[in-house]
Amino acid sequence: MSRPRPEPVQVVKQRRDAALAALVASVPYARFLNITFDRRGDELTAQLNFDEKLIGNPFLPAIHGGVTAAFLEVTAVMTLTWANLWERIESGSLDVDELAAGKLPRQPKTIDFTVDYLRSGLPRDAYARATVSRSGRRYASVHVEAWQDHKDKLFAQATGHFLMPQDAAKQKTADQDFVAREATPPKG
C-alpha cells in the first residue's frame, strides 16, 4: 500500500487562502461592510469589523438590523460557494490564478432568508459561521449563527434557501433526469 506523498503545508495553505481571498475580494458589498473571513481547514468564520456607519439606533447604540441580516446573508452565500468549490480547489481543476484574475464561478441565488434577532448587536466586531444543512443539485439550505463576546450567546441566527448555479449543459441533463425519473413508475 502506498499513497501519494502529501503536499507541503505552504502549498496547501497558499492555494486555499488565495482561493478564499479571491472569492471575498470579488464581492463589493462584503468590502463595503468590511466583512473578512478566517479559515481553519475548510471551516470559515466571518468577521464584521465594526464601524460607526453600521449603527441603526444611535441612542443605544446598536448595529442596524439590516446590517445583521446582510452580514448573515454574506456569510451564508460565501460559505455555500466555498463548500461548493472546495473539491475543485483541492483537486486543482479550479485554477486559483484565474479566480484571482476575476474569472469567477456563478454564485448561488437567495430564494428566501429568515433572520431571528435574539439580542441587540453591540457596537463592536461580530462573528458568524454558517452550516450547509443540505446541498442538492438545485437547492441548498443553510443555517447561520452570529455572536459577539460569547460564542454560545448568539445575537442573531438565520436560515436561508438558495438556488444553486447551473451551467446550461448540466441543467439540461438535470431536467432530463428529472423527466426520466418522473416517467419511470416506482418499483415494488
Binding site: K53, P58, A62, G66, A69, K109, F113, T114
Partner: protein
C-alpha cells in the same frame, strides 16, 4: 389626532430615520409616511453589488432596506410606539433587481398588539408589475422613552 400633531409625528419619524447612520450610508430616503405605512427609496450603487458578473445588488442590501422600511412603518403607527426593534424578518427574493435602477420599498404595519407589531413589505424596481422581493416580520413595541 389633529393635523398639526400628525405633521409633527411625521417630521419626527422622518428625522429619526434620516438620523440612522446606516440608512444614510446606503442613501435611503423616506418618500412617504402614513399611519402605519412607509415608503423608502434606495438608489443603485456599485458598492452594494453582490455578484460582480451581473452587477446585481446583494440580497443583504435589500434586507437592510426592508428592515429600515418595516421599522419606519411601525414607528408611524397611530398607536405611536416609543421605539421598535426587529424580532424576526423573512425575505423572499422573487427575482434579481435590475442593475442601475433604484429600489422602492413599501411597508405596512397591519396589526399591533401591546408588545408586538406585525409588518409586511414589498420591494420594486422600475418594473412595477414584478416585485423584486417581499418581506414579513414581527417587531417589538417599546413604550415611550
Amino acid at each position: 389626532m389633529t393635523g398639526g400633531r400628525m405633521a409633527d409625528k411625521k417630521q419626527l419619524a422622518r428625522q429619526f430615520i434620516e438620523a440612522i447612520p446606516h440608512a444614510r450610508e446606503l442613501g435611503m430616503t423616506l418618500t412617504e409616511l402614513g399611519d402605519g405605512s412607509a415608503q423608502i427609496v434606495m438608489p443603485y450603487d456599485e458598492k452594494l453589488i453582490g455578484d460582480p458578473e451581473t452587477g446585481v445588488i446583494h440580497g443583504g442590501a435589500v434586507s437592510a432596506l426592508m428592515d429600515t422600511c418595516c421599522g419606519a412603518a411601525v414607528m408611524s403607527h397611530p398607536a405611536a410606539p416609543g421605539g421598535t426593534a426587529t424580532i424576526d424578518l423573512r425575505i423572499d427574493y422573487m427575482r434579481a433587481a435590475t442593475p442601475g435602477q433604484s429600489i422602492v420599498t413599501r411597508a405596512t404595519c397591519h396589526h399591533m398588539t401591546r408588545n408586538v407589531a406585525f409588518v409586511r413589505a414589498v420591494a420594486m424596481d422600475d418594473d412595477q408589475d414584478n416585485p423584486v422581493a417581499t418581506a414579513v416580520g414581527a417587531f417589538t413595541v417599546e413604550r415611550k422613552f
